[in-house]
Structure formats: C-alpha cells, structure tokens
Amino acid sequence: MKKDVFDVAIIGAGAVGASILRRLSAYDLKLALLEKCTDVCFGVSKANSGIIHAGFHHPVTSLKARLEIRGNLMFDQLQHELGFPFKRVGIIVAAFSYEEMKTVEQLYEQGVANGVPLIEVCGRERLLMLEPKLNPDTVGGLYAPTGGIIEPYRYVFALVESAKQNGAEVKTDFEVVSAKHNDNVYTITSSRKEKIQARHVINSAGLFADEVSAIFGGEVFTITPRKGEEYLLERNAAGFPNHVIFPVPSRVSKGILVIPTVEGTMMVGPTAIEVNDKDDSETSSDNLDKVFAQAMYMIPVISKREIITSFAGSRATMPGNDFYIGISKSAPHFIQVAGIQSPGLTASPAIGEYVKDLLKQDGLRLTEKTDYEPFIPHETCVRELSPAALDEKVKEDPLYGHMVCRCESVSEAEIVEAIRKGHTTLDGIKFYTRAGMGRCQGGFCSYRVMKIIARETGRPIEEITKRGGGSRLLLGKIPVESGARPSPKPKKKSVKYA
C-alpha cells in the first residue's frame, strides 16, 4: 500500500466539508481537506446567516428534515467540545393575518411530525410577551425554543482545527482541476499543479459541486446560485430581538429574517434571487430598501442608520429542493454531498455522520482511534473576560493588554494566535477574531492587523491580501510610479510683476 495515499479527500472546506472531515478524524484514516480559497470557510459558508434551525420548515419525508433535526440536537455537545459561540435563543415565526396563521399551524404540525421538541403555537399576547419589539399588528405565530444562533466561521474554523489536531491535513489554495482514477486510487491535480492521491473522494464543493462532479466523471447536475444579500447592524441596535424572527415562509424561501447574532450585532436578510454567476457577491440598493421594508414590518424600530456593512453570498441550489447526498453511481468511491442549501449549517454535523456511514457502505474500513481528542483548546476572547481575568491574562502574555480592534475589543495576542493557526489574510483574521467586523469596519485596525501579519509571517506588508489571490491591499511605497518625477528642469520663466 502506498503510504502517502489519502484514504479520503474531501473537496470544499465549508461547514459541510469541515463537519465530514472532523467526524472522520475520529477514525484511523489519512484525511485531506482540499479548498480552492486561501482559507477555510471562504465560500458559501462565509455568508451564512448563522441560524441553527429548529426543524419545522421541511416535510418529514425529506432528507433535509431528518438531518436538520438530528444536526440541531448535536450542537450542544459540539459547542462543549469546540467552544464556538452558540446560543439556543429560539425561533419565532410571526404571522400578520389569519391566512398566515393557517400556515403557522401547518408548520407546527410539520414540526411535531419531524419531532421538534417544545414547539408551540402562540397567540398574539404570548408572542408579544416573548418578543416585545414585534409589530403589535401581529396576530400570533410559532415558537420553537430549540432554534439557535451560531458564528458560522468560528464553527467551521473549530471543526477544521479539531480535525487537524486529530491528524487531518488541510490544503488551501488547492483548486481541483483534474482527476484520474487508476488502480482504485484517484490522482487529483490542482490549478497550481500540485498532486495528491486518494481512495475515496467526497464532493462537498458547494456552488461548484456540479463542476467537481464532472471532473470526477460523476453524475451530471447543475447547481444554481441563489443569491442572498444581508445587512449587518451594529451592537446595541434598537431593533435587536430576543429570538430569530421569521416571517411566514413563501414557496421559494424562508423570507427576510431578523437575526440577533451570537456576538451581539444583528442581521436582516437574506434576499433570494437566482443568479448566473457563482462568484456574484454584489449588493444593490433596490434590495436594501426591500429588505428593510420587510424587516421593519416585523420589528418597526429597526433603523437603516445602524447598518455597518452589507454582504452577499449564494446558496447552492439544485432542482428537487432536497439535499443530494449519496454514493455516486458513475464515479467509483465518489460521494456526492451537493445542493446543500438551508438548513445546511444546521444539518452539517448530521451530514458528517451520514457520510461516514456511506463511506462504510462504500467499503471504507473504519477503526476508531484510541487517542481521538474531541476537545480543542478554547480561545481566549478578551471581550468575554472579566477585568480581573484579563489582568491575569496580560501577566501571562502582555499582548493581551494591547487592543488592536477597538470596536470588538480584540487584542494583539488573539490576532497573533489566529495567524499561528494559519489565518494570514485580513478577512481570515476578521472571521477568526472579529477584528474589523465592528462598526468602523477596519477603518482603525486594518493597518495594524496588516503590520502584525507581516511581522508574524515575515512577509513584506505589500504582499498581505484581503482574502488571497489578487486581493492585495497596498500597491506601493512612496513614491509610486506614474508620477512624482521632476519636470526636466523648470522652464525658466522670467517673471515680471506689473
């Protein structure tokens, strides 16, 4: 047996790929996670709303509903092991007419059928007691206390870190461009001509799962990006709700939501528009108005004045409206994990479990590691420490006393830690530490973060990027080319004053 052949290569380091990787890292396997971006969680998962759904939106017959319910229940244990920010704040669906109330009742029945714990229908009074900021025109709604919120990137980073700690390898900037299958082994080549070999391949490439499937000779299908624009509002925003607030859903989407983020900011969105370009992350001003009109209908005190940024990402949708997870019938030892749109994040731990079982079915031998370590060291977040605890931390490492990001209270020590964990772009640091994610959006801290990255990595500051590739931040030193040259000799103008 060749020693450097991976047992499993997973393509795509989003929430799904990372969950599968982490689940498999409990077994005696040689694992590789391949990601085309510079960092993990830089694709679809980056723009995720961060909701852990309760499990009432999808019919009991769907794979989605099963994995959603199962996934939801796994988050407490995962948080215990991995320490990412997660809170079961509960989900409310607010109805504004008696027609909508009928849909609420259907959702309730669907939830009960799916096995959603503690789900209830609320009358107007109870709903307003749970969520006092709700538009008093509401007639009632649904309440699912097991719904929650999470920081999606921290979740993915933690999964990857845990898997790495258990021996998995992560290759970023590895865009799969070709694959050959010989002697039961895939040889996978990246756009940078790097090659790896693997016996089993998992396609969790999100928006690009159709293209990856084609590369491996798998099933032919099409992923259609459905773009969502979201708006982030500052901490202490007037409209910050107690729960995640949903409108009564339409057929195409769950609607515009009002989301309290686990870190104290809030989000409104997302829109749902099918687009052609998988890299389309544009926002538009028309959608801003639409999003706010709908959000403010539910919570009238929401204010556009409190927007700190907007962003857009696309869901990877497929015809059929269910997840497409299964062993490929045309490519050997190739597992499709495609069409993972909402509730993909919620379902992700259950998908990890499900794919593990599929691999077993596909002939992979799974032997539990004797030294599997499910816990990762919990990150110190200065903003969560009491003054006394912070004082102790500064004694340990003075860099904890130097605040780099003033809006989110991120210390230099946390930035250095993120860099040592391999996050060496401005966005990578932002998603890992929150530096630059607050109200000034990096206006004060980004140059400091750039300097720290340069110092820690030994790279010139001009090479630091926003998110890898050609996203360089600085284009030169004083003076740059194309000017500042002396005019040959100033024309001797004999100047006389009248």
């Binding site: 992350s281 003054p387 003075p398 006393g401 401005l426 998110r467 284009l475 003076p479």
Partner: protein, 418 residues
C-alpha cells in the same frame, strides 16, 4: 489589578483631550490623560498638511506641529499620561466614575475619578454606512485610513484612484495621492455643492486637473479580488439617471463621506446621545446627561477646525475645574434648539445672563445669512454671517447681557438662520 484615583480623567489625547487636561491641570487638579495610541496628538499626527493653528497659535502649522506644541505643554504640566491604554468599560455609580482600562505593561487598571472628560474624537463613515452597491474587493479605503498609510507608514494604497465624497479629508488626499505619484481620476459628490472648503477645491483638485462630479453618485463598484472599476451616475431631480452613467477603470476607491462621533463608551455610562450631532447632549457647562461627565471636541460634534476644538475643550476643562471646586451651581438652565435651516446647535442648554459660545451647522448654502436668536417668540439678537454653508461650522459667542433671565424657568432659546 491596580486601582488609581484621580480628580479627573480625560479619555482621548488628541487636540480635545490635551486642551481639556491642560486646563484642568492649570486649575490645580490631578488629572490623567488616557489614549489607546502610542503617541499624544491623536489623528493630528497623520494630518501632515498645513492649515492648522491660525486661530489658536496665530500661525499656520501642520497637524503634527499643532499636536506637538500642545503635547509639550501637557508634559510640562505634569499630567499623568497613559498611552497604549484602551478604556474598555465606563460606569457611574454614586457620583464616582469608574473606568476599566488596559495596557500591555500594567495590565488592567481601574481608574476612579470625580470627573471624566469624553474626548474620544470620531470615526469615518464607511461603505456600509452609505450602502454603495457592488462587489467587495480589496482596494476600498476610508480617506483617513489611506492618509494614515501614506503619511505615517509610507505605503501607497493605490495608483488609480476614485474618491467618493468631497469632504476636506478626501480633497487633501487627492493632493497627497497626486504628490506621491498616484493618479486621482475623479472626485464624486452626491450634493450639488462641494463639502470641502474652496481653498481645498482649488489647491487639491484644480492644481492637478482632477474632475469633480457634483450631484453624482458611485452606483456600482466592480472587481473580484481588487477594485477594477466604478460606475458613476448623475442625479437628476434627486434620483439616479442610469442612462447617463459612465464607467471609470481604477484600482482604488477612497471614501470621504463624513465622520461619526465615537460614543460607544459614552453609551456604556448611560450618557444621552443626540440624534442631530451623534454626540452627547450637553448643558451650558458641556456636561453630559451623566453628572460629572463632560464632552468636548469631535466626540461632541464634528468640527472642521482643530482651533475650535482646542477652544471648546479648554472651556470644557474650565467647567471641569468649576465642577471640582463645587462652583457649578444649581442655576436653572434653558433649552437651546435648532430653528429653521439649522442642523444642530451645541450646547443644548444655556444659563441666562452668562456668556455662551455656540457652535452650529447650517443646512443651507447662502452668501450672506442672518442668525436669529429667538426666545418666547421674539428675536432677541440678530447676527450676520458671511458664506453660510454646511461644510463650515458657525461659531459665535452670545454675551450674557443679551441673554437676560426670563420670568420663572429660563425660556427655551431657538437659533435659526435665514
């Protein structure tokens, strides 16, 4: 965790904080000056252009010179200075103000004081605040960040630049970028008139043949990794006329679209913030809604001249001294409100019979305007103001003799422009 007692603590060591601390020290009180940066002077240190100090030092200086002159006095006055020190929390209980701050050398410090001066300055509005549509590539900077990168660190953020907003920082950066060899392709202003002063329009744009597009917006930013182009659209009757849009290829977008007072700490202490200024509501002594907590400089309202910041802050320091000497009486104060054509007036209260300095900002542009100070329906004072424009703060002093006491509680004062 160490605990330090002061009579007054000033948060922020820019022009405002230094001027206030200096005045408090001159009054004979123990004052600490706390700043998260590694130097005194705040943002002035990156404002290397001239145009500072004409009123305050009677001499035209650059930002660093202005700051250094003030800093020398602060050091000479024996004020305790805490640099690289970030204030994390601020609370008021039973008259004692408590700040939790932190630095690398001393760890966490709890400051207790009778009086606190808020002098944290402001931050720049960013893309999210104004919602420019398009992609999110590298190469979008606020003007102040670009200024910092060039003037302190020597890095040039881009070579072909479009500037959004014609505020003074944006204009100054147009000249700076031109002088370091970059090409500024356009300045795009949503308003029909420039937001910056005429001198800067002439010396920062005309001198370099940089086009200024008034009543235009950037309707789209393009570029995957790095900015590749912007689309500029004229406004007609207040709405974008997309058929007349044009595209400029560039690698950088600079935003100079206004400043927001930085009041997160003020909010932690329960200070009431005014919607009009974005800063604390202050009474005639520049005291906020929290007793013993004062505010001055850009954290109170955004100024356009550091000289006025220094002036206001010195007065603020004087009020702190009065407060510490228990000389701020219980005299009744009347409300001050913004009347027609006025965006805001600071302070928000006045004491009858006492000289009061007012700062206000116009909403209108007018060659020759008249300030109307009204009380109980009557105009009690008129003042002519030349060249009224939103970009230039109006700063004036009302004599106490013009503000006599009214019967009963002081009547509200309304300041209007016509």
């Amino acid at each position: 965790m160490r605990e330090l007692e002061y009579e007054a603590i000033v948060i922020g060591a820019g022009a405002a904080g230094m001027a206030a601390a200096l005045r408090i020290a001159e009054g004979g009180f123990r004052v600490a000056l706390v700043d998260r940066e590694d130097h005194l002077g705040g943002i002035l240190m990156q404002c290397i252009h001239n145009g500072f100090g004409l009123h305050w030092f009677k001499q035209e200086l650059t930002g660093p010179e202005f700051a250094e002159r003030l800093a020398e006095k602060v050091v000479a006055a024996g004020i305790d200075i805490f640099l690289n020190t970030t204030v994390m929390d601020f609370s008021v209980s039973n008259g004692v103000k408590t700040l939790i701050a932190c630095n690398s050398e001393q760890g966490v410090i709890q400051f207790n004081a009778r009086a606190v001066v808020l002098a944290m300055g402001c931050r720049e509005r960013n893309r999210g605040n104004i919602g420019i549509p398009g992609t999110r590539p590298a190469g979008i900077f606020t003007a102040g960040l670009a200024q910092r990168l060039i003037n302190v660190d020597g890095y040039v953020p881009g070579k072909r630049v479009v500037i959004i907003g014609s505020g003074d920082i944006g204009l100054i950066m147009a000249r700076r970028l031109s002088w370091v060899g970059a090409k500024v392709l356009a300045v795009v202003e949503i308003l029909p008139h420039p937001s910056g002063i005429t001198r800067n329009i002439v010396q920062c744009l005309h001198d370099f043949n940089i086009p200024l597009y008034l009543s235009h917006i950037v309707s789209r930013i393009e570029g995957k990794d790095r900015v590749e182009a912007v689309t500029i659209t004229p406004l007609e009757g207040g709405t974008p006329e997309h058929s007349k849009s044009f595209r400029i290829e560039c690698d950088t977008v600079l935003l100079s679209v206004g400043l927001i007072p930085e009041n997160e700490l003020s909010k932690k202490a329960g200070v009431t913030i005014g919607h009009d200024t974005g800063g604390p509501k202050v009474d005639a002594h520049l005291m906020t809604s929290a007793e013993g907590v004062f505010a001055c400089g850009n954290v109170l309202h955004v100024h356009d001249l550091v000289d006025f910041v220094a002036d206001e802050s010195t007065r603020c320091g004087g009020y702190v001294v009065d407060y510490l000497r228990d000389q701020i009486g219980e005299e009744k104060q009347g409300a001050v409100t913004a009347g027609a054509n006025v965006r805001y007036v600071v302070p928000h209260r006045y004491v009858p019979g006492r000289d009061t300095h007012f700062s206000l900002r116009s909403i209108i542009v007018k060659d020759r305007g008249t300030l109307l100070i009204k009380r109980q329906g009557a105009v009690i004072k008129k003042k002519t103001v030349q060249h009224v424009k939103p970009a230039e703060m109006i700063y004036f002093k009302m004599r106490g003799s013009d503000l006599p006491a009214t019967e009963g509680d002081p009547a509200p004062l309304e300041i209007a422009l016509e």
